[in-house]
Subunit: 344 residues, 2 copies
DNA sequence: GCTTCGACTGGAAGCGCTCCCACTCCCGTC
DNA sequence: GACGGGAGTGGGAGCGCTTCCAGTCGAAGC
């Protein structure tokens, strides 16, 4: 294992030219079956693996993809984005690509930009979750193709959870349970996902002929945390006409809602049913296990990376590809499921 | 921004040869000050950044470091290793290096090995947390230099928390509180860190003249989880002579201990004091905020990566360096602090 | 005045690969 | 039987950089 075998070694061993070895290793061009297997054998015998670096230099592609995440999203205890990353990494392996994980601060500063923006050491980037829009501007300007996962921005290609669909499932479920006085609770309401859950829910209820009473809606623009959920829940629970069921736009809020209900001695789902969204780890473990919408985080990452790979590697001409990319934005949706537990 | 500027462009712009540009960019060799600044200017004017790939090919170094983590460690809700990674990534940025994050399954399978083991796209690897030893065997055999973070293996270089020191702090604290009937609770006891916490604690107590009564010790080899903590706690709390204070080898166990104490109507710290280790996010938020040993996760990652960078990049001759590396194993310890809260 | 030397700079050989192009066969066609 | 064309293969020019080596030139040494 002193020095690694190179393409030249393999060529010599197999008695062919390096061009042929290259063709075989890339599965390209027309190579006689006998030649192919001879090269194959020589390669295995020598333990040859093509050098990424050399390949990158020659082909103008690095085989690296970036995965960008906001620092605080990466470190939050609910392993949402780590799972997304895991899916992406899995898909990358399958495609023989590498993933460079890099974080950005909540507020973008050019000096904290991932290095690959400058160095172009990456063929494309997956951006997971909400990030500062100015970062996306910079990314866009760099000409590096990118796809968003669980976020939307202008017309950029993105992979998103089917928030509308999930919310519609909740609506159907609640209606099937006979609830007609139904509330909705959300925070961080400008976030595309949160917003979509709200509009999807309203739309589904409207289709069934119901409008959410204004007094049964509690929203805010702050963080969608458990404590925020408890605070917002107060607005619904302490009002004159309490809803009989409330859809919370995510599980953290829903768990906060449960806290608030318990603090008031209310029975869930007897006095008020509650449904969340996300199916976080704590949802099933809550005192009253939470009915919620399950989302497939790994799949989100897989699909996003796959999409990126497909698009950014298909063509070697990165710039032209990026332009084409920008012109044909697309949203891919990852289906969600309703998980019915005790809370509603 | 159609095509990136290359070293040739800069050379032409500055009216020097590419060799000189290279020297300037790397801060090497003797270059006249006037020439240097001329090149510098030309480079900024053209927005030149050296190509990683080309540099890698020519210099035999990639500028990439691997960061390996066990899948389940990466996804656990306590963001321990993600913080370690964050520290590593931070340090990498400072050194203009990239980090490839890759996970391995709990049980090593050669087919699930990180790709860079085969492709040598990485100058060195940080392995964080306990991983399957056969994976480390493979890593060692590959000749890629590596350092362990929060784990120990043979004589491999590693960066570890000062587990003994932290445990000694706990012992001193408990003794200062007047506790003499002190217990110890651990799980996953074969893990080097957990073991070190135990021996450190015993040693510190022994130095002070106390031996832990056998009946006040509860250990297991299973996962060190909250539920395991509750289960093990039962052995100590339901026994004939309950300890007045218990040191739990990590916070998850300690939180489990609190659960068990509460279930038995015991007052903490009145009936039994409890101290944990790690200072996880939940420690401060527990019903009885937990006294624990704080560890600096980001620092762990920073130091590990720094060490690796220092060693693996100092010499271009990776193989020789790896050999030297192996001969001079070292353990770097990251200091810990005691955080006193309500529980003990 | 001539050598010696060090500071500085340029030339050029790769690093290991991809990919375009040219070349050789060999078969099928008119 | 000459010709077109496709399948299979090799040659060779880069990709953008590092680094060794050679060279220039002015200052110091004798």
């Amino acid at each position: 294992m002193s020095t690694r075998a190179t393409i030249t070694d393999v060529a010599a061993e197999a008695g062919v030219s390096i061009s042929t070895v290259s063709l075989v290793m890339n599965g390209k061009g027309a190579v006689a079956e006998s030649t192919r297997s001879r090269v194959q054998t020589a390669a295995t015998r020598l333990g040859y693996t093509p050098s990424r670096t050399a390949r990158g230099l020659a082909a103008g592609r690095t085989g690296n993809l970036g995965f960008v995440l906001r620092e605080d999203h990466f470190c939050q205890s609910e392993p949402f984005y780590t799972r997304v990353f895991l899916g992406a990494e899995f898909e990358a392996r399958r495609r023989w690509l590498y993933v460079l994980l890099s974080t950005v601060p909540p507020r973008y500063r050019p000096d904290a930009a991932p290095r690959f923006l400058q160095e172009h050491t990456v063929d494309g980037v997956v951006v997971a979750g909400r990030v500062d829009d100015t970062f996306l501007d910079a990314l866009g300007a760099s000409g590096i193709p990118f796809v968003l996962a669980d976020y939307a921005w202008h017309g950029a290609a993105s992979v998103q959870l089917d928030n509308e669909g999930g919310a519609a499932l909740v609506a159907a479920h609640l209606l099937a349970q006979g609830h007609t006085r139904v509330g909705f609770l959300t925070a961080d309401r400008d976030h595309p996902s949160m917003a979509a859950r709200g509009t999807g829910f309203r739309a589904a209820m409207a289709t069934a002929g119901y409008t959410l009473p204004e007094s049964c809606i509690a929203t805010s623009t702050g963080a969608a945390s458990r404590s925020a959920g408890a605070a917002l829940a107060a607005r619904l629970l302490d009002g004159p006409d309490r809803p009989s069921a409330v859809f919370c736009a995510n599980d953290a809020l829903a768990l906060g809602f449960l806290d608030a209900a318990r603090a008031r001695g209310l029975d869930v789902p007897g006095d008020v049913a509650v449904v969340g969204f996300d199916d976080v780890e704590g949802a099933a473990l809550a005192e009253t296990p939470l009915t919620t919408v399950r989302v497939y985080k790994e799949q989100l990452g897989e699909v996003a990376l796959g999409l990126l790979a497909e698009r950014s590697l298909a063509s070697a001409d990165v710039a032209a590809e990026a332009a084409r990319f920008a012109r044909a934005p697309s949203v891919t949706r990852i289906a969600t499921d309703l998980v019915v537990r005790a809370s509603g």
